[in-house]
Symmetry: C2
Subunit: 404 residues, 2 copies
Amino acid sequence: MRVLILGIDGYIGYPLALHLIRKGHVVVGLDNGSRRKRVEALGCSSLTPILSMEDRHVYLRKMFGDYEGLHVMTLGNKDVNHTLFGLLGQFQPDTIVHLAEQPSAPWSMYSREWARETQLENVLGTLDLLWGMREYCPGAHLVKIGTMGEYGTPNCDIPEGVIPEGCLGEYTSHHPLFTKPYICPMKGLLFPRQPGSWYHLSKVHDTNNIAFACHNWGLRSTDIMQGIVFGLESINPTCDPRGKEELTRFDYDQFFGTAINRFCLQATIGHPLTVYGIGGQMRGFLPLKDSIQCLTLAIENPPESGRYRTLNQFENVYTILSLAHMVADAALKLGIEGVSVGHIENPRYEAEDHHYNPTHQALFDMGYEPTTDIRGEIRDLIEDILPYKDRVVKDMIMPTVKWR
Amino acid sequence: MRVLILGIDGYIGYPLALHLIRKGHVVVGLDNGSRRKRVEALGCSSLTPILSMEDRHVYLRKMFGDYEGLHVMTLGNKDVNHTLFGLLGQFQPDTIVHLAEQPSAPWSMYSREWARETQLENVLGTLDLLWGMREYCPGAHLVKIGTMGEYGTPNCDIPEGVIPEGCLGEYTSHHPLFTKPYICPMKGLLFPRQPGSWYHLSKVHDTNNIAFACHNWGLRSTDIMQGIVFGLESINPTCDPRGKEELTRFDYDQFFGTAINRFCLQATIGHPLTVYGIGGQMRGFLPLKDSIQCLTLAIENPPESGRYRTLNQFENVYTILSLAHMVADAALKLGIEGVSVGHIENPRYEAEDHHYNPTHQALFDMGYEPTTDIRGEIRDLIEDILPYKDRVVKDMIMPTVKWR
């Protein structure tokens, strides 16, 4: 397949490109380097010593015949869409993987300017892309990265994207007055979202815009509600994650770092693990290699034209507190002593003890083989990042951006 | 109360300002003149010979002590928000009525540029406003104009904003397997929207952004899901709608004109009434004077801090076809002969025969006294616009923008 990866320089984009090329797909990428710039503007950088964007391009060119190249441009910027549209028309992708959005919730909550930039880049960038697809490659399959955070934490089970037939039958035990299965009259409507930041809202806006483009114009899309990704290992055993050329970035700062990655980093430098509040927050998680496996399944199994398909993409649900204890335990077994689980005041406004039962069946139906040994994954991750612990900028770790 | 009206130069904004000033409220307005400019760019203008924005300002100044003035700026424009924020800080409004959005569905469907401008101006304009409220007037009440079109036409009844307790009990007759009332497990979540254009999507994005700002920051807002407004008569009997100074604008072109207004205009010039498809589309409608009455109720009865309140604002539901026949009948009784109801190919992608049963109880609970004589309203409207029929630009009437 011909695959265009928007955001090819990112945490997922680069290992996904390597994996797809090795599987025989023809890949071209686009990136504006915004993640590097934004992390550098904070006074930080990737923990892993990754190649520059230019050197990655040279490396892929040298290694692979089926790598078409890298283009530098910004989505959501009025003036550069001629370049994007030129690429769509010239490359004629079968699949467009859209990873090119501002991905941080706290970054979007920091200021009006950053909230604005998040919704501008994400919502208008995707809107431009939809118009470009309609014009230049209406048969292409858009694989869009959303987030499980679009759903928030409602007091009911979470289906995959839309309200399913009979969905409320699942609630019999909670609501004794309801005793029989029935046809849900709201069947097929988008399940209501409860996004918890300007970033999460931008993803919900995307969801609504993409669903409309599929319905109205007959485009096809897989909208991935992805859980929190962690780890450094790629799916391909020939790809040594510690080999410099193929290393992906690793962020641990308060803005672009995420739960397990941050905890493992904190463990390696003896920092108390930063559990927000009581830590009962439940979220879906998956290792990086599972994310790449699942994205590949979505790419290689496109929906029919006109279909808007949602996949809830995660391996399993864990509480933040249980993960912190798994990390502390794994560190101890690796000989790192004195790792403590620290509860800090929650900078976010979120439920810390709640119902959480999202469905994630569709990917299993497509053949997803989950990596279920999360303790093993955590151990591997700590080992993977230990060599770089002297690169840590310690004052990037504690959260300062408050939700209220 | 101190009321800031964003979009004070518009169809609703100007008569609302006059009404609020006459009721003793202190009013200040903001507008960028975009409606005038956009209609002029099409080669058209308001049917009614309205004052220029500058002359309206002079008139209000001359007539009323409680009119604070008019500011010209564009929402959603990065550079002018200092002016908006200065106004919020200096005027300290109790209420902000936000009418300053691009309001046309076909305009938003015309091109990528106009789709982009619609979502930029509407979504980012409102996002800026929310940040400004948080900073400069966190206790103010935001009265935001959304649209009944946010809901689309789902195959179930439409509540006011959120999924109510036990809502599904209403479906017993449709779904025989469900026999008992029960507690709806999705109670309180936003009712799923099915917006049908980039414009309608922009309003749904606003809804999500505003609900979050109320929940997270404790702002207060009334989000008005408004039906289709028609007519020229203002609520205040001392305001002669045909008096030049207080006339509001009247659009009849394919972009900014809406159903009843367009039909009445077509009747006056002998143009077949442009029913799209079979005309079974059902929508909520209300006369302009009811819109002003309802907005005033919302303004004078604010919700408590932190509350996001939705009002479904319309007088009653009608099919497009029945309205066309009412207009033709009224025209005939006024001595206008030869008015025909013409069915044209539907340029939109929408259901033409569907279930439609939206709730609109909250405004009645607040004291709304509806104008139920729609045939009388249609007759009055035809009489009001007859003097201006020589101003009609006839090639603005037929729709050319197609949804697919």
